[in-house]
């Protein structure tokens, strides 16, 4: 079986420098892969290149075995959903309308047309999953930052795309919603044979939810493997240039990373 998404020797030049350099990664059905690395390592650029938003300089990206550049925009959007930082909204849009935006790529006509009963069913289901049902008639700009982030997640789920690209999905969320959100992603991957690529700064959350972690530095994939293989003190020290303590999580037994600052 083809991997859902694959990049081979991918390079992306951006702002006159190599933001992604000779990077290879494979995303299989059921898998959550976390991308971690210092600021400016090229993590977000990688996501945007995988989605076709930034042109690649060299290398190959295949979506379900097909080269990305051969697919049209709407086909790609039926396969890949993105959750990025929220954009500022200047128009009054209800939560339901916002989430229904996720059904755009499935419409029979690209510009005109109306949501079908099925579109509505899907929207209502994902609103339930993200605990937003009661807010569905509210305006997006009346919501709190965390609620808006969940609405973004709901819209991505509404696309029914098997690949989720998440860029700092938990940045605006409190502890309980961070876990809820990633549990949702986990559930999606387990039940729908979906896969997710998560760019995050939260290494411990990544350790808990990801099957695999790719460690990036200066556009390159320095190391890739299971959390246990990647989250080793010497590797992290080399990439993040800070001394870290890695011990076992008291409950899961997985690796737990604590940066050591001025503790000798």
């Amino acid at each position: 079986m083809n991997p859902l998404l694959e990049a081979r020797n991918l390079s992306v030049a951006y702002d006159h420098r190599m933001a992604v350099a000779d990077l290879t990664l494979t995303l299989n059905a059921g898998e959550i892969m976390a991308i971690i690395g210092p600021n400016g390592a090229g993590k977000s650029t990688l996501l945007r290149a995988l989605n076709g938003q930034i042109p690649k300089t060299s290398g190959v990206i295949t979506l379900d075995g097909q080269p990305l550049e051969r697919l049209n925009r709407r086909t790609i959007s039926r396969h890949i959903a993105v959750v990025a930082q929220e954009a500022e909204l200047r128009f009054p849009v209800t939560v339901l309308e916002f989430v229904l935006g996720g059904r755009f790529a499935w419409a029979t006509h690209a510009g005109w047309g109306w949501e079908t009963e099925r579109d509505l069913e899907i929207a209502n289901a994902v609103l339930q999953e993200t605990e937003l049902t009661e807010l569905s008639a509210r305006l997006m700009n009346e919501l709190s930052g965390g609620e808006r982030q969940r609405a973004l997640m709901a819209r991505a789920l509404a696309t029914e795309a098997p690949i989720l690209l998440l860029d700092e999905p938990t940045a605006n969320l409190d502890l309980s919603h961070q876990a809820t959100l990633l549990t949702l992603v986990r559930k999606r991957c387990d039940e729908h044979q979906s896969a997710a690529l998560v760019v995050t700064h939260d290494i411990n959350l990544a350790a808990q939810f990801a099957n695999n972690i790719t460690l990036m530095k200066q556009g390159r994939a320095v190391h890739s493997g299971t959390p246990r293989e990647v989250l080793r003190p010497e590797l992290l020290q080399e990439v993040f240039e800070v001394r870290v303590l890695v011990d076992a999580h008291p409950i899961t037994g997985g690796p737990r990373v604590t940066p050591l600052i001025n503790h000798g």
Partner: protein, 335 residues
């Protein structure tokens, strides 16, 4: 706000269409010359085939002066409101408006160049007005666009820069005209429907209907574009293509209306705002509603302009600005 459905859209448009028809008929009875209501209605119902007891002078006032002017007002209002809705989605900002962004000025420069150099050939006017509008749109877009779309600050600054630059071009071109035309020109620049050109009326009406139709057919893409270009791209909108369509169509709408009537301001701000306020932000309903509502708005504004100090007249742009400027201030405080 309930979700927008086809049914709701059709009902709203039918109601607005009915109101528009009512306005066209009733406003044609108003004016400095009183027309007998019954005979006029009878003549209008016959679509001008029967005089129904109107004197030849009255008949001419109705069909040669008032009706063309009202229809032009409808076309200009529909064009500007639709263009406003388009620019607002494109620039992701409810303050975007052809007049305030200097796009009307771009079209005015085009029209003036046509008047000075190709005065006799009427069809050159909308063509050059369209080119001027397109160039100004492009300039504003490049100047205003930041990382998060056009912020209100950037947008207004870009509008001020383009407007003032083009204003000096207008002053320069005006010096090339003979002195007798300058007064009517100042009126025209403020937006004036009194000089309704017979040749441009069908052009303006056709462009308005087609423009509103094309933008409505892109409404679902525009809904997503309004949320951000990146989001729209991620969700499957061919952002580049839709952007070009809006650029061209909105510039065409502004070009044809400015060529016919000068720069009527604030229509593109007031009308889409009211449409969104009453019907929601979904462009599938707010664009056709803005087109019909814009026609209605300018018909009423122009009737006020030509009757309030009758037999003298005000430029219609003075009336629309009187309503639009306070609303702009209110919107500025909110976005």
């Amino acid at each position: 706000m309930n979700r927008v459905t086809l049914r709701k859209t059709l009902i709203s448009c039918a109601l607005l269409g009915g109101a528009l028809l009512l306005a066209i008929v009733s406003m044609s009875l108003l004016g400095s010359e009183r027309l007998p209501a019954r005979d006029s209605l009878c003549a209008l119902a016959s679509l001008g085939t029967s005089a129904c007891g109107l004197t030849p002078d009255q008949f001419d006032i109705l069909f040669q002066i008032r009706l063309p002017r009202i229809l032009l007002a409808a076309a200009v209002g529909g064009s500007l409101a639709t263009a406003g809705a388009g620019y607002q989605a494109l620039l992701r900002n409810p303050l975007a408006e052809p007049y305030l962004l200097g796009i009307s000025n771009g079209a005015a420069v085009g029209t003036m160049i046509a008047l000075v150099f190709f005065g006799a050939i009427e069809w050159v006017r909308p063509l050059l007005a369209f080119s001027g509008a397109l160039a100004a749109t492009f300039a504003v877009y490049r100047l205003a666009r930041g990382r998060a779309g056009a912020t209100p600050e950037r947008l207004i600054l870009a509008g001020v820069i383009v407007t003032t630059f083009l204003s000096s071009v207008i002053v320069f071109v005006t010096t090339l005209m003979d002195a007798t035309r300058i007064r009517s020109f100042t009126f025209w620049l403020l937006g004036d429907l009194s000089g309704t050109s017979k040749a441009l009326l069908p052009v303006a009406i056709t462009v308005t209907i087609l423009g509103a139709l094309v933008l409505t057919l892109h409404a679902r893409s525009l809904n997503l574009l309004m949320l951000g270009e990146r989001d729209a791209f991620d969700l499957g909108v061919e952002v580049g293509r839709v952007r070009v369509v809006v650029f061209l169509v909105a510039s065409l709408l502004v070009g044809s209306s400015v060529a016919a009537s000068g720069s009527v301001g604030y229509v593109g701000l007031v009308v889409p705002h009211l449409a969104r306020l009453s019907l929601g932000s979904d462009n599938r309903i707010s664009i056709p509603a803005a087109a019909l509502g814009g026609a209605l708005f300018v018909i009423v504004a122009d009737t006020v302009a030509r009757t309030i100090i009758a037999p003298r007249e005000l430029p219609v742009g003075a009336i629309t600005a009187l309503i639009g400027a306070p609303l702009f201030i209110y919107l500025l405080k909110r976005v």
